[in-house]
Symmetry: C2
Subunit: 437 residues, 2 copies
Amino acid sequence: MHIILLSGGSGKRLWPLSNEIRSKQFIPIFKCEDGTYESMIQRVYRQVKSVDPDATVTIATSKSQVSAIRNQLGDGVGISVEPCRRDTFPAIALSVAYLHDVQGVGLEEPVVVCPVDPFVEDDYFVALRRLSALAEEGTANLTLMGIEPTYPSEKYGYILPRAKGEVSAVSTFKEKPTVKVAEGYIAQGALWNGGVFAFKLGYVLRRAHEIIDFKDYTDLFAKYASLTKISFDYAVVERERSIAVMRFGGIWRDLGTWNTLTEAMSEPTMGKAILGDGCEGVSVINEMNVPVLCMGLKDVIVAAAPDGILVTDKEASGRIKPYVDGIEQQIMFAEKSWGRYRVLDVQDESMTLKVTLKAGQSMSYHAHAHRDEVWTVVAGEGETLVDGMAQAVHPGDVITILAGCKHRVKARTELTLIEVQLGREITVQDKTKYPEP
Amino acid sequence: MHIILLSGGSGKRLWPLSNEIRSKQFIPIFKCEDGTYESMIQRVYRQVKSVDPDATVTIATSKSQVSAIRNQLGDGVGISVEPCRRDTFPAIALSVAYLHDVQGVGLEEPVVVCPVDPFVEDDYFVALRRLSALAEEGTANLTLMGIEPTYPSEKYGYILPRAKGEVSAVSTFKEKPTVKVAEGYIAQGALWNGGVFAFKLGYVLRRAHEIIDFKDYTDLFAKYASLTKISFDYAVVERERSIAVMRFGGIWRDLGTWNTLTEAMSEPTMGKAILGDGCEGVSVINEMNVPVLCMGLKDVIVAAAPDGILVTDKEASGRIKPYVDGIEQQIMFAEKSWGRYRVLDVQDESMTLKVTLKAGQSMSYHAHAHRDEVWTVVAGEGETLVDGMAQAVHPGDVITILAGCKHRVKARTELTLIEVQLGREITVQDKTKYPEP
């Protein structure tokens, strides 16, 4: 089975754990049997592989997520990087071209596309395999998964099948309705459209060539910024008459809000938390190193992270976006290909960070025009390169880097350093990369 | 008027803003007209001085509070330092001896004793002046303030006056009752005992000499640790027949819990806070540098500080103590005579702090046996002394201090440095002070 997982969005709805550079799918939030935590993307990847060890998984995403994906899933996964955002049709076309031209998937082979963020059990992936098999049979050009509704939701589009069997031709699609209208659809046997579908690779590639003038993956990638924004629904689904739907009755939860996310957590708290006196239906997700104490609360979610603290009634949690849009702030935490950093302190003319590099990793060789930096190694062993001079470093070593000075550190074992930045203009933009000498 | 303010307690009830070394009376929580914030002790001191500019104020407290008192009130206030905790009678005896022997207050002069933490208006201090005048008249040996109850509280002792006038002899004292019993007391005209009383200095000094064998203030201070713990009520009040009570009908609120404290705040939020969608009766006190976002909450208090995060229903907030007793943690913030520090990061073998010294201040010259330190100056100008060698320091300067090395920094202007501590045994106990060479 070939799966394309669509991994998009900046995920402000899960602030303060998600932010502009850390999307919700990367937050380690689901407890595993061994006591560690996995993220949505790790969970989905693990589930795909347990149902179909031979499945090839390709993640369609933006450049900003590549480091986090490599950190969390390793090198076994394919990544189709969108150079910029151009809606779902160009994104799917690019990853289909990637599958064909980079991974060598044949035109007759089936491909399944699904979002990365629903919370599902293994039976969902068994259903994806069946969806893939239906696409391979080729009865319809496009085979959608229709999810059996559990309530008349306003959040989803609906699919009306012609017949009641497991697989049926599609009669019609309906946009997100009101609750009242949704009740009517459900009475007619409608299914939720969860954005999951399968097709033969060649089918979407043909449609892509009809709409976009490109030679191959490399060419499409190169001209990606010039493409018109167009959704897959508009470009393909609405113009296609040969569409089937396969019904799915298993667990399927959309983890788009704090409320649905905490419902999917196996335990009420994560991190240092004390649920005291009279707490009922309280969820705490605490990424800070100090305790959260809750007393006498009902149906409240508390989320604490370096970027901020959220305290919300469960029902109200879905209305977070406009508030987060109004918060202008320094990014306080980031995951990078080489490790991670956290901002510890911000002042007018200085900033203090904790930087951790994974064993064997190195940051790029670079310089800053407008700030000095002082590194104090606090854990691990490594090697610094400062203006061409290499030096082994250990805990307690201090490296002073003046503005203009080229520098990098490479970790032999996992290495942590405290970085003090000093200057009047401290910005992430002030960074010039150089090749190592 | 001579006032002794009793400033005790570690104030776990206001965690995470108060902790073992930072009591509730020092938290800047009341908004002033100029937009700055003042603490309970600053508010009380300001109010005393505005009602009676000539009042001498003496604070009876423990050693750990001296720095905070000097920082917040300056040098105009007297401090009677209890070398250790020995209950209220030794504490009051010590401060009365301090007033007599150090401040030169005469035996016939009246003294008023009151706790530092009730939330009151100026009329309370006018009443204290009247209480002082009554003590000076000498009709009774001891004159108490009786507060007119606003509800049948279980939290206070009650005073039953003989008559209904403004001043009356006391008929009897009652211990903290049940609500039912309190209702009966109030029907009989009982008043709350707020722990406020006045006397002629010589009266308490005589009682002290009868109970404790000591010469003068210096002698009493020296033998303080050997004194028996005994309350002022038990040692004095219960044995005295000549007691009067003066009624007070103004605003008097006990700020012992988050609920009463937030009621006394003039604004619902302090620090970075957003009260969103459907919040009613929500109070936020945020000492962190990142925002707190609240949505859909009713009657909830959120308090965020370097030590932790509290989210509590207002009614439940009074039951905090056992939970806080169960939290074992590093002190993350402290106020010192020379400035303040905040712990930014804690790891197995390192700790990172931000240290700020006030202009003109210096830390003591000291050394650590088991840790190295690295200072990076990030703001201000000053002078370091390291193993006898003085050096002017500016932002960007780095000072490396190996274990065993004597060191201190002195601030010329307000000076901030990032201190990285490195070692296997990092403790506050590992510190030896030396005289400067």
